[in-house]
Symmetry: C2
Subunit: 428 residues, 2 copies
């Protein structure tokens, strides 16, 4: 099945909004085994949209449209698609009642233009929108022996995603032979090419009809396993076999699977063991604790942090010995350990985690160039520090440091060592 993505909206074309929908849909459609031929963005203009539909059906049988389904006068997508499909717009009484209810409950008026969200092109199927007012739409027809399918969804990403998963994906699966299944393993601390080297020959490892994609981002790499089969059971068996082989090979490098994040995994782990955590941060400036507390319910395990940017804050609030600062400098093993110990003690936490480094872009020396970072950790079983060698970029250094610090906490709590080679970023 070949598909074309069509994004409609001046605000996207003019760059006022970045088109994240296209990336999300491209990814999801590829995972569903659909061949996405191209992706196009056009403004809210009649002729341009009609031409785009014509060209899309020259290239594929499925067109996925986002944007332009709301009640404002710019939102002409539905009218034009109805016209293109030769289908009259008919008011759907059930949707109208839902809209009436929705607006009344919020104390707002269902104006005539809002009411038009209940109009459905004849023969189209409305797709429930669990997160907003405008429903999605699915249409199909045969033209000169060729099938034309279309899915219309609102442009608001979280509404679009819900409609896609609830309704559009199932429609696609019904209409294509064979099946595709996927699993995504999440790793932290090791670079993409190092992992590829470790894995060796992929075909042997993964088995037939299975592919592997490496998706790196800020110290993590997602490994996406995709398997095809004659039916869902075969595809599932293949993807499971490959994913388990990968997990076995990668050991503790894999911190989770699917849609979760490292901060969620670490949070669950701490909550499950009844442990609390505190951070003593220098170069990350609070970004580590901000990431830990970005997870709903983090107050179960997050005690807090001391961001000790100045040396006085290090000595006064985290009891870092002035001697260590004088002898070794703020970016050093003893100071990393003292920061972790101080955070643990002062905030009364089970685990203290610390960062100190030269984030850049300036402040580097020959001995400690920009990108030199120490992580420290302290808990009931002892204290440890690790030196990292990162990048010339400040933003990147801060982000990757928070990832590696979270992974250090995870390994410490699990008692997991570095069975699968050292981290790419750890200075040995």
């Amino acid at each position: 099945m070949k598909a074309v993505l069509l994004t409609i909206g001046d605000e996207i074309l003019l760059g006022q909004i970045v088109n994240t929908n296209a990336a999300w849909l491209g990814d999801r459609l590829a995972l569903a085994g659909v061949d996405v031929v191209r992706s196009e963005t056009v403004g809210d203009e009649r002729e341009v949209i009609l031409t785009a539909l014509d060209r899309a059906y020259e290239d594929g049988e499925l067109v996925i449209v986002t944007g332009g389904l709301g009640p404002t006068h710019d939102d002409i997508t539905k009218q034009l698609v109805a016209e293109y499909f030769g289908a009259e717009l008919i008011r759907d009484a059930k949707i109208e009642a839902l809209l009436e209810q929705r607006y009344t409950a919020r104390g707002r008026t269902l104006t005539a233009s809002r009411r038009s969200m209940a109009d459905v092109p004849a023969g189209f199927e409305p797709l429930a929108n669990p997160r907003g007012a405008a429903p999605g739409l699915w249409g199909e027809r045969e033209v000169e022996g060729r099938r034309q399918m279309i899915a219309l969804m609102p442009g608001v990403p979280y509404e679009m995603k819900a409609i896609f998963e609830d309704s559009v994906e199932p429609h696609i699966h019904e209409r294509r032979p064979g099946a595709v299944k996927h699993r995504t393993l999440l790793t932290a601390g090791r670079g993409e090419s190092d992992i590829a080297d470790d894995l060796g020959d992929l075909e042997t490892l993964l088995g037939p009809s299975v592919g592997l994609a490496f998706l790196p981002s800020l110290g993590t790499v997602r490994l996406r396993v995709t398997a095809r089969g004659e039916d869902a059971d075969e595809a599932q068996a293949r993807v499971d076999r490959a994913a388990e082989a990968l997990r076995e090979r990668l050991g503790s490098l894999v911190f989770g699977e699917g849609q979760t994040s490292l901060e969620e995994v670490v949070g669950e782990l701490l909550a499950a063991r009844g442990l609390t955590i505190a951070s003593g941060e220098s170069c990350t400036g609070g970004a580590l604790m901000a990431r830990i507390t970005s997870v709903p319910g983090a107050s179960r395990y997050a005690q807090g942090a001391v961001v000790a940017y100045s040396n006085e804050a290090k000595t006064d609030l985290l009891d870092v010995p002035q001697d260590d600062l004088d002898t070794h400098g703020a970016v050093s093993e003893p100071v990393a350990i003292a920061l972790a110990r101080g955070a643990r003690k002062r905030l009364g936490a089970d685990i203290g985690i610390a960062t100190t480094g030269v984030a850049g872009p300036t402040g580097g020396t020959e001995e400690k160039p920009v990108g030199t970072v120490w992580l420290g950790i302290a808990d009931a079983s002892g204290e440890r520090a690790l030196q990292l060698r990162l990048f010339p970029d400040r933003e990147l250094n801060i982000a990757v440091t928070t990832t590696l610090a979270l992974d250090l906490v995870r390994r410490r709590v699990l008692g997991a060592g570095a069975e699968f080679g050292e981290s790419t970023f750890i200075q040995s």
Copy 2:
């Protein structure tokens, strides 16, 4: 001048990378007065790319291509464009020498495939790439009385932006009559529609041939003023007149102009006055100090922070009276003030800034629903707290709270009140 954007690369089409280039180019071309008709992404495939070029020149005279200029075998853009324009690829000795120099300096080999980056389609102009190896290209021809222009740039955003600004933009300006100038005013704390209401009739305020776009994001709104004129001087005079009229009307709501950020503006202000800052954070979990210290050189003014997530951390590390916590709760005016006072004192800073609130998604009560946040500030001149009413979303609440806290610091240091109406988010 009508233009079509063409992004080439499987990794974009499959959603492994979000296409931020298209948004950036859409914005910059609109500012240059170019009418961007549509934007298309295609994979690294011969037939698809040739068809895309055909269709692009049906719709416009300028095609801006990004991606597929590197040395790997997937990167076929240049070959296909040369073929489309009927131009032979000719090795450019000057570019080849530059490549030789570049790779040798890095101790790497200029392989045959890398050397092909020096190939230029006959009649095309190479565009210097100050940030990478592959040069950009500019080509033009006349086909059946119609002009066809093309700009080719690498897909790496920071290389692409440099080539666009250095070479492509000037080419566009030479080829279109008239001139366009723009200025962007940055505001924080007031919603888009409130600002629009405050401004009243825009045509009267801005003058002829001037447009205004509102670009909202996480508690800030950028106001982009665009003026056209017969020449650059006229356009500049118009944009300056309009921007000054806006600045006068908006007063202290405007915190800066152009590419700067609120954290940079606040940082400059603190550094210029020799003031230091510390934060006492509860609901923002360190995100406020992380934002302050994201600016290079922040150690000039950032002392640090105490992230007091637990109540014990609030009392032990920031001296919040247990009485206040018991009587008013952690999310309250007295606690916000105590957190600011404690951060200022314990970290020895001139200014203490504090956040405490119900970030959500759970934890709300009827009296203090999710989105209830208090900001506290303390300095030599006194102490103050403000109550915010924000959103049901945790991530959004944390981000907007950091914006409003930074703006509170700015106003406090400037001695600027709220001459231009209250913030949209402040509970009065």
